[in-house]
């Protein structure tokens, strides 16, 4: 067998180089991209606090108590809200929902968009035209409006919010991955695989898809922050995660606004958490893009 296109593609991705271990590569990348590292650390903290929430705070985020509007103290690190619920507990438990919605909707949306793009761009012709015109239609509407319509029709639940945001994400992933597929499918190793009689599916998933991973990862990381903000926006409009499930968006924009003056910690805490998470995703996304984009590599 001649040189395998896969090994070539791995080098092209550029994360783990030949003869260089994963951890060493990671360390090198971290040193080259300190902001991306900062983003990763922020996200690590956010994810860890969400995952280990029950071990971090003894308070139930939904427990309504008479300790209303208490300022930050040793007992309630970020104070309590108008229903006497611990704000810190709501922030870290809220991270679970925000991250869950962000990750799942991004994976679903970008995954669906990438698969659609892969197939339509490789086959081209009517299929490609049809899929791309559908993407045009989806893109013609503001993403929040589409998400709102979907949640209105399906009803507001965590599952439906994930689905709504995922649908919104599909066109972006589809466009970016398609452009890469159009380049890759003209590469010599693809032509070689075709000449050797490899099946279409084999070529698609073993030769084309791995070489489209870089733009896919860039889109996915860039979309994560946006997905979290969309969830927060839906919650702001009362169409997001149903109460009393803690959610940064709902806790930031909902009743909190009524008490912003008397108890500013109520909106500030989820606001900071939301900003940090989105900021972290953006920093990491930028760094991943820089590392994976051959034009930016080494800068």
């Amino acid at each position: 067998m001649a040189t395998t296109p896969r090994s070539a593609s791995t080098e092209r991705v550029g994360l783990v180089r030949k003869g260089q271990g994963f951890w060493k590569t990671l360390l090198l990348s971290a040193r080259r991209k300190p902001l991306g590292t900062a983003g990763a650390v922020i996200l690590l903290l956010v994810v860890a606090s969400a995952v280990f929430a029950p071990y971090i705070t003894p308070h139930d985020p939904n427990a309504i108590t008479t300790a209303r509007l208490r300022p930050p103290s040793a007992e309630h690190w970020l104070g309590t809200d108008h229903l006497g619920r611990d704000v810190f507990a709501r922030v870290i438990y809220g991270g679970r929902i925000s991250l869950l919605v962000g990750f799942l909707s991004t994976i679903l949306g970008t995954g669906a968009g990438a698969v659609l793009a892969l197939i339509s761009a490789y086959w081209g012709g009517v299929w490609d035209n049809g899929v791309q015109r559908f993407m045009d239609i989806l893109w013609a509407f503001p993403s929040l409006i589409i998400a709102l319509v979907i949640v209105t029709v399906l009803g507001s639940s965590t599952r439906n919010v994930i689905l709504a945001i995922a649908i919104v994400v599909v066109p972006l992933a589809a466009r970016v991955v398609r452009s890469q597929v159009l380049i890759v499918k003209e590469m010599e190793y693809v032509k070689a695989a075709q000449a050797l009689g490899a099946s279409t599916w084999r070529i698609l998933f073993f030769h084309v898809a791995p070489n489209c991973v870089a733009p896919y990862i860039i889109v996915a990381t860039a979309t994560l922050g946006g997905a979290i903000v969309t969830e927060a926006s839906l919650s702001f409009l009362g169409m997001g995660i149903p109460p009393p499930t803690p959610s940064w968006g709902r806790d930031l924009f909902g009743t909190a606004a009524n008490y912003a003056e008397l108890a500013p910690w109520i909106p500030i805490a989820p606001g900071v958490a939301l900003s940090l998470a989105v900021y972290g995703f953006n920093l990491l996304g930028d760094a991943v893009r820089d590392l994976l984009d051959p034009r930016l590599r080494g800068r």
Binding site: A67, N258, P264, V272
Partner: protein, 588 residues
Amino acid sequence: MHYRKARPWLRLFPLTALLGALALLMACRPAAAPTPTRAPAATPIPTAPAPIEATPVIRIATPTPTPAAERPQYGGIFRTHAGDDLVHFDQMIQTTVRTQQRVGPSYNRLMRFSFFEVGVIEPDLAERFEVSRDGLTYTFYLRPGVKFHEIPGVPGSGTDLDCPDVKHSLDKYRNPDYSKRAGDVTAISSIECNPAEPLKVVIKLKAPDAAIVAKLSAGWAGIIPSELPWERMQDTVIGTGPYIWQGYTKGQKSVSKKNPNYWRKGLPYMDEIHNFVFPREEVAFAAFRAKQLDMNSYMQYIYPSEAKILKEQHPEVIVSLPPRLWWHYVYGNLKSGPWSDIRVRQAFNLFIDRPKAVEILGEGVGDYGAWQPPWTKWSLPRSELETFVGKKDSSDMPARRERAIKLLQEAGYSTSKPLKMVVDALNTRESMLTPTYMQDEAKKLGGLVELTLNPLDRAAWNDRLEKRAFEMQGSGSAVAPLIEPSLFYGNYFPCNAPANYMGYCDPEFDKMFTQLLSELDEAKRQQLVWQMERKLLTDLPAIPVRWVAEGMAWWPWVKNFKDVDPAYYNNVTMEEVWLDRTHPGYPR
């Protein structure tokens, strides 16, 4: 061109700025003293007199004259708000106070509640009335020369008020298909007019009704021209009131202009009323504080927390926070599902900690009880009431929860097969409180009950309500115009009551209700009301949660307004109110 590459740490600026802002805010917060949980106790707030307990006083005289302490000024635009958008303008169907506050200035009633004295009824379109000896016939004599508003293209525009107009209006009031208030006036058997005497209205009752005049004086009993089809009230506002409806822009405001031919000469004072739409209360509150509103809604939205801010930062603002005839309750669909099982209803009644609800949801203001205002003689004696709704100090709550658990287990529910219910909730600040609280209370039953909230906007919520398409309603809320016991039942519990969404129908209760309407002896009425309270607290078609106290606030240049209406529905024509535009704080 050479650009200097930015230092990487500079790109961390947003993060550091965010953290810095947080640290600054935390550092600037008031020192250690914890925020009191009962805000109103710490800051005394001026309140209007408490609602009267007895049947209202009916003054058969001219309306109360304007207090002459200050010389009224004409002109100005009165700016207020009434919450979120309207679905339509028919205040007998869309019974929310939001409708009433917007369309109210366009209507008059036969009689009306005084704008200055609590519980006093005085003439409005009727100059006087007579009651037959048997209490079954009321004859009202209409004021001559009253004309309906001139609105081109609207049926009845500019016509004279006469008996057929009153008959047309009151027939709608008592028709359950066109009025959610029909349960108030079931005693009326007919309304008769004599063409020879067009200003005489004869109202005949099936049985005496001690509160019939009060019910005809309620804010929603407005008189419309007989030419206007009832259905048109949803898109048209025409009456004889002090302000003429100009229109409503969804999402923005309603506008009413002074009626130059108002039958009360010299009134109204103001040129226009602009009633803005503010779906978010905090935005309205901010607009009020910025003097963009003269009154922060003449209905509600001032809670103890807002009152505290006003008291501290705008001491000149007049704040009123009296108890209201407004109660919050929850209920399910009795026709099907878990709510049809009495054990489930009993469990709900037992596990909701009401005193804590007043403490948390009412910000320490308000009360709890059954279906009659708990501070009145109509409410069951406290000791007996507490056996149904819990003790004031919540000391019986552990035992009540135990009983609730047993009842649910008897009904076949367990932790592996919990009672699951979807609770519809109107997605506003006030309306989300009770269902959220109930959901949390249910969790204290060790996983036996799982409630899922379904927050809906007003249109969707209404739609599911009207179609009885809900399993449970968490945003039950009702207001009575005055303390008359029949008004706390009439629209909700008799078999054919228009707002009996739960589907309760008990012949024994209906019989007692009919008796209550015709019983004029106060002592006997009280005994009867107590029986009805016990009946409802035993059958539990709905679960009462708390009685609300919410307030209103207005700037000192709003003159001649008194918060005397415990219901928000009656004091809405604003005809006596004027703006002191010479006031130093008046926004120019």
